[in-house]
């Protein structure tokens, strides 16, 4: 039986008759939370957000309320809010839906958040390729401004805040928060070293800055509506609110599906929600949280202890879809991009594809990532081209080990984790590939079968 979605953020998205203009939004109760927010004390909103337990939806899953507390308020410098709408993690496609189909929800969420942290200026850093989204946001902002929901003296509250939409500079690294800030300042999106450049203290223009994902900021609107306490009841403790799972790959019905955290298992998501695999296929592996997250092998048993001490022993289909469970099995829920692979997948080719992406996207600032990631790309490309060696699997793993944890930004991990986990889980296939190519060569056949790397 198909599980029913429980939509919070996507409540109106794709609903018949719902349009993205402000009148429709207002008709559906839009901007009521902003009206409420500006009558509250900013610190009370912060307290609600903390109480809600909402964790960042951009990838790292850091509690938003805690992040806001890190803001350096003593410096006397202006505080900025930035919405990270760079959405470039392969496998992720939720923020774009919000922007295209319900832009006012984001604007309202942002204004509530900006008021809470007392930012007078907020930015939406939108992925450069999302030109349509950019246009839509600009339009929506003007609509809101015309109704005094944004700009000077919002709704007569005495609070003023404007939003600037900034188109991204066309690279994945622009989504890393400090790279984003550099890019917003007009520089190359070279991530900054932390310490000292923690955005909450030395962010945009060296002022205290909060960077949150599109979905996280939308959540703030609902936290105000429901109250932090009630919001925290959605999902499980530590895994609150809903998540929008972006399912892609070898399932019958790929798409985006919103559920409360831990409301369903990975198996349910694949089989009940997404209509199962293609006929006659078997599940081989899942990348559960965007291409950076570690791959899970379908025939693995996952055993261990959760944070609260309960022991678990799961097959891949038993894993609850939430932050902590996916972390407990050695991966992460990341940005919510669930990539399903069936038994038709060649793991070497899949990794070659991922490596190609990361090698192309590294900013090139720091040595391990700049040199190591393209090296891994060269190795997997060679393997696909028919020159695989049995020792390549260990070599790949060795290179990845030299990257993770040693770079300026988390891109290093993002690029190393896929390699480390592919080798950890599918080393046999990498070795097999080399053997197979050797024997094909012996038989006088071309060593490589045809592959298409994107």
């Amino acid at each position: 039986m198909a599980l029913e979605e429980q939509r919070l953020i996507f409540k109106h998205i794709d609903a018949p008759g719902y349009t993205r203009d402000i009148d429709c939004y207002l008709k559906h109760g839009g901007y009521e939370q902003l009206k409420k927010a500006v009558t509250m004390k900013p610190e009370d909103i912060c307290a609600e957000v903390t109480a809600s337990g909402v964790r960042g939806r951009g990838g790292a899953g850091f509690p938003a309320g805690v992040k806001w507390k890190f803001l350096d308020r003593k410096s006397g410098k202006p505080i900025y809010l930035i919405c990270n709408a760079d959405e470039s993690e392969p496998g992720t496609f939720k923020d774009r839906q919000i922007i295209h189909k319900d832009p006012h929800q984001l604007i309202e969420g942002m204004l509530c958040s900006a008021f809470a942290i007392q930012a007078k200026l907020a930015f939406i850093y939108i992925r450069g390729e999302f030109f349509e989204g950019y246009r839509i946001l600009e339009e929506a902002i003007e609509e809101a401004r015309a109704k005094n929901l944004l700009g000077d003296n919002i709704l007569g509250s005495g609070y003023s805040c404007d939003i600037i939409v900034h188109r991204g500079a066309g690279a994945y690294i622009c989504g890393e928060e400090t790279g984003l800030i550099e890019s917003l300042e007009g520089n190359r999106a070279n991530p900054r070293i932390k310490p000292p450049y923690f955005p909450a203290a030395l962010g945009l223009y060296q002022c205290p800055t909060i960077v949150n994902n599109v979905e996280t900021l939308c959540d703030v609107k609902h936290i105000i509506e429901l109250g932090g306490e009630a919001f925290s009841k959605i999902g499980t403790p530590g895994n609150t609110g809903t998540r929008i799972w972006c399912v892609s790959g070898h399932v019958q019905k790929p798409g985006y599906y919103e559920f409360p955290c831990a409301a369903l298992t990975l198996g349910q998501l694949i089989n009940d929600v997404c209509g199962g695999l293609k006929p006659g296929r078997k599940l081989k592996a899942v990348i559960p949280g965007g291409s950076s997250s570690k791959i899970l092998r379908a025939d693995e048993r996952f055993k261990g202890k959760l944070k609260d001490g309960t022991e678990f022993d799961w097959g891949i289909e038993d894993i609850p879809m939430d932050f902590d469970s996916l972390a407990a099995v050695g991966s992460m829920s990341g940005s919510g991009g669930v990539i399903i692979m069936d038994d038709s997948t060649d793991m070497v080719e899949a990794l070659a594809n991922i490596n190609y992406f990361y090698a192309h996207e590294s900013c090139g600032q720091c040595t391990p990532c700049r040199e190591g990631v393209p090296w891994m790309r060269k190795v997997t490309a060679r393997m696909c081209a028919g020159e695989a060696r049995e020792e390549d699997a260990d070599l790949l793993n060795g290179i990845a080990d030299q990257i993770a944890g040693r770079t300026i930004c988390a891109f290093g991990e993002a690029a190393a984790w896929p390699v480390q986990s592919f080798i950890a889980k599918f080393k046999d296939e990498f070795v097999e590939k080399a053997k197979e190519q050797a024997s094909r060569r012996k038989e006088g056949k071309p060593a490589a079968t045809e592959t298409t790397l994107i």
């Binding site: 690279a171 190359r188 070293i193 310490p195 000292p196 090698a359 192309h360 996207e361 590294s362 900013c363 090139g364 600032q365 720091c366 040595t367 391990p368 700049r370 040199e371 190591g372 990631v373 393209p374 090296w375 060269k378 190795v379 060679r382 070599l395 060795g398 080990d401 030299q402 990257i403 944890g405 040693r406 770079t407 300026i408």
Partner: protein, 569 residues
Amino acid sequence: MSANGTSEMITINLDGREVEVPKGMNAIEAAKLHGKEIPHYCYHPKLSIAGNCRMCLIEMGMPMRDRGTGEPVLDEQGVQKIGWGPKPVIGCATDVSPGMHLRTDSESVKEARNGVTEFLLINHPLDCPICDQAGECRLQEFSADHGRGYSRFIEDKNVKPKRTVLGPRVTLDDERCILCSRCVRFSQEVAKDDVLGFVDRGTYSTLTCYPGKELANNYSLNTVDICPVGALTSTDFRFKMRVWFLKRTNSICTESSVGANTTVWSREGKIYRITPRRNDAVNDTWMTDSGRDLFKPFESDDRLTHYTVDGVHQSPEIAAKAAAELLRAGSVAVVGSAHSTVEEQFILEEIAKKTGASVSMVKHEGEGDGILLSEDRSPNLRGALLNGLISELPKGDLTLLAAQVDSGAVKTLLVVNEDLTQLGLTEAQLGQVKIIYLGAFANAVSQVAQVVLPSLSVFEKSGSFVNQNFRLQKFAAAVPGPRGLIAELGVLAMVEALLGEGNSQAPTIAQVWERIGQTEGVFAGLAWQKIPEEGLKLEAGSLAKLNFVESKNLKLDPAALEAAQALPA
């Protein structure tokens, strides 16, 4: 982070040893204080922190405290536990704080360096046999110290431009560039000429000049000095000489009163290049491009190479005698030089006293650049003042002297360096007097002088100068002067001796300093050996009130000095 030790000292644990370091110093410097090298490429003590090379990864831990109570967490022995970070940190961006623990040579640190070294080498061209940097290349050195010794890389290397002309003096080999951004930061932060940057992304990142710009500023060669590899090369020095054949001599730049500390690199009497020598009180680690060329004129043909008396080549002794003879006749005027060393000026002043000569000097000024080129284009004006050779700031010309020649009050001139025809005296006036000329180059004065005493360049002799901050700095001879010439200090001392009853042997510089040390004033008690390599700050005393021409530059802030003086003691 003060060299004078005024900042607060704290205790940290460096590789298991408790050591004292100034609070807030970064880990690379702190470790260095205690003899531990943390290898690094992108870090430079005089530039902002980039943290991109990742060579300086170390382990860092802090004493553990209970999150709730704030109480120290103790182990079984009652010692506070150390919470080691899960990942290594970069030493260049890790500022020490009390109780911090650092591991700079653990297995994991070594492994991290190993990894970075391997990464830097996979796409690096192994040009060492023809690379100018070989012998002073960080990548070479650290590869030997921290590398695996073999390669695991069998893929094709990246290809980048090998010969990019960035400006009139700098050529770039992009394949050797390790993208440390030192040159970029230098251009922005020190030279204030933001012309360098990277184009393309990731492993294809390539250093370039921005379109339509050139790396042409007068500090461009500093980028070559600080480039840790052979990517930025001096077009002048390129492929000329292996650095290990070169001899290094400490010198002082004579371009202006800044007195940048320099190293002169020479082989078999020939200078190949001049580079800055670090002195945080004078020039940090920089110098001008123009200052690096100052040795070249001395290789030219209009150099004076023979002592002459009435046009005839003579020995230095005979020339000195002839000079003394002329001076004895009286009515002498001396035209001194702020290019002379403290020692030469001292002897000159003695000669002036013995002959009752009046002393004048002319100023040499130009535009300052606010960095390391000051308005006063002579290295030792303050020396002349401290020596008492002059008592006020020099003027632009010598019209007073011209009048004295006309009136017959001056009959003999002892001229150091200056071309008097450019300074208000006519050739006719020169014809009315006897002239002793001391200088390195032929000019209108040397041509009519009765006695010509060729002088040596700053690269060919030893001596000292007093810079814009009243800092006494010494330099040593790097190369021999033209055959048969002795340092002018010796010749002047012979002349002085001949005027009195002393012996006429050329004294050593130390002997001259024995005399200078006996004078009253700031030099009292000083000796040649006592002048440290990094120089010695002298008291300006009442001279500080003079209206010196220098405006604010890297290490001089006249406004601040004035404000400090205005304060009641």
